[in-house]
């Protein structure tokens, strides 16, 4: 339908564009100029120096290590989610046992539990288990908190597989296991990539668990590195923003290559 443009809405969206665009411009400009340039000419000016020192500086102050730690946490969380969620979603969709629906309700309840709510007992449990200041102590709770949403997303995807396919396989005498590997997994690829992206985002951006469950430099993750950099070198704004931009790079890469999975992962099921 062609209609005349909605000027009011267009103007409003331009204001929003300014509010979003300006900080992003300042951030990028600040990271590509020297500290002196930034301090003298102010954040909104056009840079008259060009340098990559702010990025290399971030690596010098330990960010290489933090990236590695975050990568380990993210990879392990994805691994745990991929190991646990597909069988769970399969059971939710196909099982007729009463226990399964009870388990599903447990996970629905889990959607409403914020991480803040359990952080004190988590600290107690992880300390008692001897996992304090150990990346495993961050990985386990982070993965657990990805499960409810992942189960919901994936069971939604598996529900779209037509019952006739199951019946045809059942006629051939296929076991549940064979159906799972030959039918369900190949047909729920979209859902699987969504839960991978969702869990990766949660792990990559996670802050509260690392903040409370780790303390030394050798177990620091990127978000925690940003926070500490802020408290220690708060006046080195170009250096700090360089680290912020670096922390975004992997997500931007996913955005470029798997935009749809990323948006779905970000939304969970909120958009449905």
């Amino acid at each position: 339908m062609r209609r005349r443009p909605n000027y009011l809405a267009g103007a409003g969206s331009l204001v929003w564009l300014f509010l979003v665009g300006l900080p992003l411009y300042v951030m990028l400009a600040a990271t590509l100029r020297t500290r002196q340039d930034y301090a003298q000419n102010g954040p909104v000016s056009v840079p008259d120096t060009f340098t990559l020192d702010n990025y290399t500086g971030a690596f010098d102050s330990g960010f290489g290590r933090y990236f590695l730690n975050t990568l380990v946490v993210t990879a392990c969380v994805i691994g745990i989610v991929l190991l646990l969620v597909p069988p769970l979603a399969y059971a939710i969709v196909r099982s007729r046992a009463r226990t399964t629906s009870a388990i599903f309700r447990l996970f629905l309840l889990g959607l409403a539990i914020p991480a803040q709510a359990v952080i004190v007992p988590m600290f107690y449990l992880i300390s008692e288990a001897g996992l304090y200041d150990n990346l495993l102590g961050v990985i386990l709770p982070t993965a657990a908190f990805c499960l409810p949403m992942s189960a919901l997303i994936l069971s939604g995807a598996m529900r779209d597989i037509s019952p006739e396919l199951y019946e045809a396989m059942a006629m051939d005498g296929a076991t549940p296991r064979r159906m799972f590997f030959q039918l369900v997994l190949p047909l729920s690829r979209g859902g699987l990539s969504t839960i991978v992206v969702f869990s990766a985002l949660q792990a990559w951006n996670g802050f509260l668990f690392p903040l409370v469950l780790t303390q030394s430099d050798s177990t620091k993750v990127v978000t925690l590195g940003l926070y500490d950099f802020q408290t220690e070198h708060g006046i080195d704004i170009p250096g700090l923003l360089g680290a912020v931009v670096l922390s975004m790079v992997p997500i931007l890469l996913v955005y470029l290559f798997a935009r749809r999975a990323l948006v779905q992962g970000l939304m969970g099921v909120g958009g449905k």
């Binding site: 969206s13 046992a97 409403a112 007992p121 449990l125 993965a143 912020v244």
Partner: protein, 319 residues
């Protein structure tokens, strides 16, 4: 994890018995059904790291523990101390204030942006990429970014003093709360915009065509068709905003540290402060439990009052 992205989903559980399709034959229906054992590993893992701690937080709220040694039972001591704690009462009001501010500011904004983004404009693809960048940043990165941008000495206020008074936005309660509300809006509006964009796209065009024929103008169409059709999305989005508001933490920790004084100490931050700075884990647990209960009750009330659980068709009136 930030309680960023969870939602009140349409229950997608196992089908209810009444809706079961009759099986082709008894022998076939039994074949090839996975047992509950398939769900067990995930359930055990989740129970261990989410359900057990949730039960423990309730128990710990009646105990005294300083992070070392073993917790001691103290009955309702933590609760009565918090009841008499002026900072606690203040934190509840601040939490409510920030949550309400968030809903009131972000809802109209994200509806307008979402409806606009669902239409057809030139350059929309480019614009929406820029719009959604805040979504890609972690809450930590967003807070660090704004802390740097709003720095009294080196940030934007230092450049544009005429706009920001003395430039120190973190020095007074009103401006500090303003900053927190603004930063959450900046961070989360794109997410809610996506929700509304998806919903606005799925509104049947035929409704607008009919209204067009009846001579309804653009604004009448917006208020009589678009808004009512977005009802379910509004409920989902508002629940997310409320739960997100109750559990805001990173922004306060990084931007204001609860200050000046305790003027921006919201409950979630106070919990962290009590437990991990003051080593009063009992009081911290009590605040955490109160937060969970509040979030759950509010979500349930919103769902019940709105009739969302009945999943009324959004196609009402189309017949």
């Amino acid at each position: 994890m930030t309680t960023k992205i969870t939602s009140a989903p349409p229950a997608a559980g196992p089908r209810k018995g009444s809706r079961r399709r009759p099986a082709a034959s008894p022998s076939v229906s039994k074949v090839g059904r996975p047992g509950f054992a398939w769900a067990l590993p995930a359930a055990v893992f989740f129970a261990l790291f989410a359900i057990v701690p949730l039960v423990m937080v309730a128990v710990l709220s009646f105990m005294s523990w300083n992070g070392l040694g073993s917790p001691q039972w103290v009955g309702t001591d933590n609760w009565s101390r918090l009841m008499d704690d002026p900072v606690m009462l203040k934190s509840v009001w601040l939490t409510l204030l920030l949550t309400v501010l968030g809903v009131v500011v972000q809802t109209p904004l994200s509806i307008m942006l979402g409806v606009w983004a669902a239409g057809h404009q030139r350059n929309r693809a480019v614009l929406s990429v820029i719009y959604f960048i805040p979504l890609l940043l972690s809450a930590t990165a967003v807070s660090v970014l704004w802390r740097a941008l709003l720095d009294p000495n080196f940030g934007i206020p230092a450049d544009a003093g005429w706009l920001f008074g003395d430039g120190n936005l973190f020095g007074e309660q009103a401006t500090a709360i303003g900053v927190l509300a603004f930063v959450s809006t900046w961070q989360f509006t794109p997410f809610h915009t996506l929700i509304y964009q998806g919903a606005a796209r799925s509104i049947p065009q035929v409704l607008y065509q009919a209204a067009e024929i009846d001579g309804a103008g653009r604004y009448r169409q917006f208020f009589h068709i678009t808004l009512p059709q977005l009802r379910n999305s509004m409920i989902t989005s508002m629940i997310l905003m409320i739960v997100g508001g109750l559990t805001t933490f990173e922004t306060v920790l990084i931007l204001t540290q609860g200050g000046p004084g305790t003027d921006t100490t919201i409950s979630a931050y106070y919990m962290y402060d009590k437990a991990f700075k003051g080593f009063d884990f009992g009081a911290g647990s009590a605040i955490a439990l109160a937060l969970v209960v509040a979030a759950t009750i509010i979500s349930l009330v919103v769902v019940k009052v709105s009739g969302y659980d009945k999943m009324r068709s959004s196609m009402e009136g189309v017949s």
